[in-house]
Amino acid sequence: MARVSIRNEIRFILNGRNVVLSSVAPDATLLDWLRLDRSLRGTKEGCAEGDCGACTVLVGKLSAGGLVYESVNACIRFLGSLDGTHVVTVEHLRGEPGQLHPVQQAMVDFHGSQCGFCTPGFVMSLYGLWMKTPDPSNAAIEKALQGNLCRCTGYEAIMRAAHAISSYGKAAKDPLAVERKAIMARLEAMQDGARIEIGSAKARLIVPANVDDFAAILDKEPGATIVAGSTDVGLWVTKHMRDISPVIFIGNLDGLCAISEDQSVISIGAGVTYTDAFSTLANRIPALGPLFDRIGGEQVRNMGTIGGNIANGSPIGDTPPPLIALGARLTLRKGSKRRTIPLETFFIAYGKQDRQPGEFVEAVHVPVPAKGEKFAVYKITKRRDEDITAALGAFFLTLAQDGTVADVRIAYGGMAATPKRASAVEKALLGKPWTEETVGTAMAEYTRDFTPLTDMRASAEYRALAAKNLLLRFFVEATGTKAPFQVSRNEAA
């Protein structure tokens, strides 16, 4: 491995200006920096945990597709993770001289603000959407706004505004579109392939140069906190005030963000965000599309990674159960040593995973269901979107020629201390004719597999009941019924 050079500052563009910071606390958030250091107070704090969107800003990053602007939650985005990006806040929006930006003017004219506190965040989310999709559908707007709460308007006015933006201006003529080449050139000029190290002793952050550099650093400093999208770690800081130094920022890291696919397997680098994984996964494994659309809000999906969702070991993470049901495997790496294990075995117990000190999650390999193999995943939450799972069931099924169950894998989240297979249920199905009667018998087996807990998301009783009913839903869906088998947001009434 070539020696990497080391830089002791981060460089990015804030609105119009280049910023160079050589003193950055590892836990400094972008929101505090904007509001306190830069006195840019258009960006608001509503929750400091990524759920309300009042702090939404755009971050432009260089990627294979060029320069992409994505909405993110400034409250849980660490300042130290912004190297080489273009941060755009509400203060940067411009229209024709003396005029508001089209997004802003539409919001004004359609009465999209009442108290106005959520408004800058909505403006930024809509701006991000409009740049990509100038004439969005209702569903696209709702999706883009899943991470923005408004307590005043009831959203209707905001939806009307969102539909009207393009009548106020052309996305192609937007300053960020017009200046794109120049910004890209400025960002490219910042890329020197160096590792960044800032701070010392108790407050230290590192941005590795690439995945090999990361492996080497972590091997030497196994106690460091790995931060990918910071959609979990951000809250450790803002809510629990945990000390996370030294921090290794691996978001957008070279060598960790690739997706590769062949006939039967999709391999996803641990640093791939939900957003970046979406099109491949939703194309190849269609049942994952609607699930991914219900993970967090747009800002969280733009930051959060599948690797982080697995590595955090949470029993209510949404990707492990479907990936387990699909038979996914996980590659772990320590220094230059790699091992690949069934994802299922990674989760040992609550808070305990099969990951050695100095080891990190490098990639997950997801088998694509073949023709005839059935796969579905259902997430149950209190609120449909941007809510954490109460119970989530994933089902993979292969039928034999004679209509009996040849292979079945069922995995649940929210039902145990880890993402967990329903092995007793599977056993009751295996080899049996795939009929409602069999399903009915198998439903009685759930009590063997799971003794869920009661908490603020759901009672044990509800979890148990809803979880087993999902098997019936799967049966109905798998029979190819035309009748509705679940309620749906996107189909017209």
């Binding site: 505090d32 107070r41 258009g42 960006t43 608001k44 509503g46 929750c47 400091a48 945990e49 759920d51 309300c52 009042a54 509400v90 203060e91 508001l100 919001m107 004004v108 009465h111 999209g112 603000s113 009442q114 108290c115 106005g116 506190f117 959520c118 408004t119 800058p120 403006v123 709702e142 706004l145 899943q146 709460l149 307590r151 005043c152 308007t153 009831g154 959203y155 809510k239 005030m241 149950i380 209190k382 609120r383 449909r384 941007e386 809510d387 603020m456 998301r457 009783e461 509800y462 009941l465 809803a466 999902l470 839903r473 109905v476 509705p484 088998f485 679940q486 309620v487 947001r489 009434a493």
Partner: protein
């Protein structure tokens, strides 16, 4: 910007008068991030920040409070406890002295503030606050009202009883009777801007508090009590709030007091801004209720007698729980005439946060009791609940017979609910959709549809009579521009805009000539909180009164100067016709100034007619009523309880709307907020009394994707206030919120379909997917057991 030259002197109408659609005055600032909230103001040099130390038990005495580690933490300047409160350690709005600024000797709920760290940065203050070592002697805690007895258990304040006729006898004699109990959850305000105050010390005993408060006068008074100084030493100012919804009516006062105490003690500016978790844990919410009801009725579904007990969770102190319980009783009839009624409130003491005002102020809870009764009657007699509703409405205003007296003995004189419901039934195609849904459900195994149409009648006025007053201050400057100030506060509802429209209308000048300014106790004293939907009604009238005084002076001056009779001075758009000539408004003002005419006036208004005898439970409690109705349709998954709102139609009465654009926003937003309360917003305490839904990650208010897929909102364009309100408009802040009931009842209707509409689902709220599924299961079991 020089707008001076732009006034159109030929205009037929001014730009921005009353009854025109205007955009929110701050909209352009909201969208550009330029609107300044308290936390956005540039801090004075040396500003300190506060972190709160909160109780970790629900009930206990404070055995020891060791804050030495807090004091020595980096950046900490001081730590305040109750002993540092120079005046009274109390911010109780009820005068009951039961709301300490900082806990003294004991704590009464999990999350009660015990001490306040003052540090150089907010981060340092928050970190240091965690270092305290506090020992408690725990006392058994009352963690909810469900197991309590509303008659014998401890109350925080005197309950109210309403009585008309003989309910017990009527129920006993009725051909049919039903009795039941309903559980109704509370609601967090979730204003997007949390509680925040910035106190800047002044000379002598002066202090200015910039506070996100709906009641600047109340904040001023309580801060002065806590400081032990006269009210004149304290100025409270607020330009705008990032949402209030009642949550900043009294709940802003504690932070304001802490900031002011620290600022005076340390002689530096001090800011308190609560973290969302702290805000949700330590400040009050909408009251959860347990509603016991019994109703007697005939085979047709005519209600004959009703008995209610409204037990509400006051929390550990009185706060506004007394009046909230009262308003629940005032609305326990919703739009229905009860020939005999007995209703009682019970504001129960518990060891949870002290609950407070929330949009509707108990009214929605009262209405939900009424609608539950309607459901019970409908299922008992086997009719569509809508039929039962229509059967029991108060007499319409054009045909008042004997069915128009409320449980508090006020006559309903302005009832238009029949017409509203009839129009909505038609525009929403209720009968046709009822049939379609029946057919759909018959053919759909797992997904069931439900439909409901619910009415709203909402009483307008504070029931505390002295709150029904308002002041305003209007200056006309020599250039003809106008400075407008009043006692109301802006929290997004467009109040300032509406009042400015009123002032523009009086002077007949374009709206942009009227400057909206921050609410401050230094300009208008002794104001009511902006609450009870009364903002525009009261302050609009007060501002109109101020403007009229000045206009009268201008008229007299013009008449004299131009030697014409007073009635020949007519205010036209941006100009004044004096006899045969026209003078621009600006010129007339200039002339008046030179002639030394006073161009400033303080306006005042008090609501006429109202009176209320709480002891007797009788009076003319409300100046008038606002009406409306909503029709909602839902789809429910009977395997999981998940649902979506397919469609909602609302027809709402704002009288002669001052600004339809603003009012429609209030109706849409109110409906969604009401729906959230009754569906996904669940407050969940663990067995230690700790609120576990203390952040948006766990407390789920509606998102854009929770809106009805089809959402039609209309205002009654034919109605006007029966009383001479400001331009015959009606209050709109609270009345639309209970339209969310239509969703609860549509869910209930869908649930009922699993038992062929034979069993009343008794669906409690919030109707989370879990509650919906459990209700479905219960009904299925009852069907099976042949009940």
């Amino acid at each position: 910007m020089n707008k001076h030259a732009t006034s159109n002197l030929k205009a037929e109408k001014i730009a921005g008068g009353v009854a025109t659609d205007q955009r929110h005055d701050s909209a352009h600032k909201h969208v550009s991030g330029a609107a300044v909230y308290i936390d956005d103001m540039p801090e004075p040099a040396g500003t300190l920040h506060v972190g709160l130390g909160l109780s970790k038990v629900a009930h206990g005495t404070l055995k020891s409070v060791d804050i030495s580690a807090v004091r020595s933490a980096p950046g900490v300047v001081d730590v305040l406890t109750y002993a540092d409160v120079p005046g009274e350690n109390d911010v109780s709005p009820s005068g009951m002295h039961d709301d300490p600024v900082l806990a003294e000797g004991k704590v009464q709920f999990f999350g009660q503030p015990i001490f306040a760290v003052i540090a150089e940065t907010r981060d340092a203050a928050r970190r240091a606050a965690r270092l305290a070592k506090i020992e408690y002697d725990e006392i058994p805690a009352i963690l909810g009202i469900w197991p309590l007895d509303p008659v014998t258990d401890r109350l925080v304040t005197t309950p109210l009883t309403l009585r008309r006729g003989d309910a017990a006898a009527a129920i006993a004699a009725a051909p049919r009777r039903v009795k039941g109990r309903m559980k109704l959850g509370g609601q967090d305000h979730f204003y997007l801007e949390g509680q925040v105050s910035l106190a800047v010390p002044g000379e002598d005993d002066e202090v200015t508090v910039y506070c996100s408060t709906q009641g600047p006068s109340e904040t001023q008074h309580l801060v002065s009590h806590a400081l032990g100084v006269p009210s004149h030493a304290v100025t409270v100012e607020v330009r705008r709030m990032g949402g209030g919804f009642g949550g900043k009516e009294t709940q802003a006062n504690q932070c304001a007091a802490i900031a002011a105490i620290a600022a005076k003690k340390l002689k530096r500016a001090v800011k308190v801004r609560l973290d969302r978790d702290e805000d949700m844990t330590a400040t009050g919410k909408r009251h959860d209720f347990a509603i016991d009801y019994e109703v007697g009725f005939d085979d047709e579904g005519n209600i004959l007698g009703v008995d209610f007990m409204f037990a509400l969770n006051a929390g550990f102190s009185a706060d506004l729980s007394g009046p909230v319980g009262d308003r629940a009783l005032f609305h326990c009839d919703n739009a229905y005439f009860y020939p005999n009624v007995h209703a009682k409130s019970a504001p129960l003491y518990t060891n949870t946060v002290s609950n407070t005002a929330f949009r509707g102020f108990g009214g929605p809870q009262g209405m939900i009791g009424a609608e539950r009764i309607i459901d019970e009657v409908a299922f008992a007699v086997g009719k569509d609940p809508l039929e039962i509703r229509k059967l029991n409405f108060y007499d319409p205003m054009e045909a008042i017979g004997r069915r128009n007296v409320t449980p508090y003995h006020q006559k309903v004189e302005d009832n238009i609910i029949q017409r509203i419901v009839a129009e909505l039934e038609e525009s929403a195609n209720y009968p046709r959709r009822r049939r379609e849904i029946q057919a759909f459900n018959a053919n759909s195994r797992f997904i069931k549809r439900g439909l409901a149409l619910t009415p709203v009648k909402f009483g307008i006025s504070f029931t505390k009579t002295e709150s029904n007053q308002a002041g305003a201050l209007v200056h006309v400057y020599a250039d003809g521009s106008v400075h407008m100030n009043h006692g109301g506060t802006e929290m997004g509802q467009g109040l300032h805009l509406k009042v400015a429209q009123v002032v523009a209308e009086e002077f007949q000048i374009d709206l942009e000539r009227v400057k909206i300014t921050a609410t401050t106790t230094a300009k208008v004293p002794n104001t009511a909180p902006t609450a009870a939907s009364s903002g525009a009604d009261l302050n609009g009238m007060a501002a109109q009164n101020a403007a009229r005084q000045i206009r009268q002076r201008l008229t007299d001056f013009a008449a004299e100067r131009y030697q014409v009779p007073v009635d020949q001075v007519v205010f036209l758009p941006n100009r004044v016709r004096v006899g045969n000539q026209e003078v621009s408004f600006n010129d007339l003002v200039r002339q008046a100034y030179i002639a030394r005419v006073q161009l400033s006036a303080a306006g005042f208004y008090k609501t006429p007619k109202i009176h209320w005898d709480r002891g007797k439970g009788q009076g003319h409690a409300f100046y008038y009523y606002a009406y409306g109705a909503a029709c909602a349709e839902v789809s429910v998954d009977t395997l999981t309880g998940e649902y979506v709102v397919e469609r909602a139609d609302i027809l709402h009465d704002c009288g002669r709307s001052l600004n339809r654009a603003i009012d429609i926003g209030q109706v849409e937003g109110g409906f969604i907020q009401g729906m959230g309360w009754l569906t996904t917003e669940e407050l969940w305490w663990d067995d230690k009394g700790r609120l576990r839904t203390h952040a948006p990650s766990t407390y789920k208010i509606p998102l854009a994707s929770d809106r009805p897929k089809i959402f039609n909102v209309a205002l009654t364009d034919w109605s006007q206030a029966y009383e001479p309100t400001i331009h015959r408009s009606k209050a709109v802040g609270e009345p639309p919120l209970p339209h969310g009931m239509s969703v609860l009842h549509a869910l209930s209707d869908a649930v009922a379909s699993v038992a062929d509409h034979k069993i009343c689902p008794r669906l409690d709220a919030p109707a989370t997917p879990e509650r919906v599924l459990m209700a479905i299961e219960r009904l299925k079991k009852e069907v099976k057991s042949g009940a």
